[in-house]
């Protein structure tokens, strides 16, 4: 019961994260949304790992977490670099959708 519902929860979280990435204009919040998406991925893996009685999913989660941490470090470093250059906290106009 639990594991049949869990992927759906994960899908909701992934969609929320995706909305955030597409809609929000603040680089730090976008990064948070990406972390949320990665958490949703981990939930999906955990759920099927439980269902299939397989270790692969857990291993994948471990690596996704590590990568998430590394990405957060580098991403925030970039935010700081942008901040230093402009001497303002305004990171709002990173325009991601511009062609």
């Amino acid at each position: 019961m639990m594991t049949s519902f869990l992927p759906l929860v994960a899908a909701v979280l992934f969609s929320i994260g995706a909305v955030g990435v597409l809609v929000r204009r603040n680089a730090i919040v976008i990064l948070m949304c990406i972390e949320l998406m990665l958490n949703a991925v981990n939930l999906t893996f955990a759920s099927y790992s439980y269902e299939l009685r397989s270790m692969t999913g857990h291993i994948f989660i471990f690596f996704v977490m590590t990568v998430a941490a590394a990405e957060a470090a580098v991403g925030l470093g970039i935010v700081i670099a942008v901040f230093r250059k402009r001497q303002s906290a305004d990171v709002d106009d990173v325009n991601l959708m511009r062609w």
Binding site: L8, L36, S49, S54, F63, A73, L76, A81, M97
Partner: protein, 166 residues
């Protein structure tokens, strides 16, 4: 009454609420706090699935490490409240439609999911940590070493990008 199931619904609801609140806050600090709520709820779900190790890592790395890093940077760049939450109305509508489509697709899919057969049968729960250790250091040794390199690169990157210009 199955308390495990009740707890599961509780955590699931909490995670979703945290997520929604996170993307709708104008203040980045509030977003970060709601992100912690989601992370902790996900950690709770790991416990219910018998994944003790992942629970510990989730709390330590996400709630303890990554969010603190976020808050630290928000303080450092002294981020005031966003003037506006998002881009233009059109952009907002387009994104919303796109995401509804994505979610609708996912929801219908999981409604009739066919689960594949397990590759390596492994009992979860009690011996989870031991199994995880064996898998990580024997079968998945190479990716384990590669992510150590990746963390080193992230460290170099944070220093290179973050240090003041000489």
């Amino acid at each position: 009454m199955d308390w495990g199931l009740v707890l599961f619904y509780f955590f699931a609801a909490l995670a979703v609420v945290g997520g929604v609140m996170m993307i709708t806050r104008k203040n980045a600090v509030h977003s970060a706090v709601y992100l912690v709520l989601t992370f902790v709820s996900v950690a709770g779900i790991y416990i219910l699935l018998g994944a003790d190790f992942l629970f510990a890592v989730q709390v330590l790395v996400y709630a303890g490490g990554i969010v603190v890093l976020f808050l630290f940077v928000i303080m450092l760049v002294n981020l005031e409240e966003s003037r506006r939450l998002s881009g233009g109305k059109l952009h907002l509508a387009a994104s919303a439609v796109l995401t509804c489509l994505l979610f609708g697709m996912l929801a219908t899919l999981f409604g009739r999911v066919a689960v594949g057969q397990p590759s390596v049968a492994a009992p979860l729960g009690e011996g989870n940590l031991q199994l995880m250790g064996i898998a990580l250091f024997r079968d998945y040794m190479l990716p384990f070493e590669v992510v150590s390199l990746l963390l080193l690169v992230a460290m170099i990157g944070a220093i290179v990008l973050g240090r003041p210009r000489a």
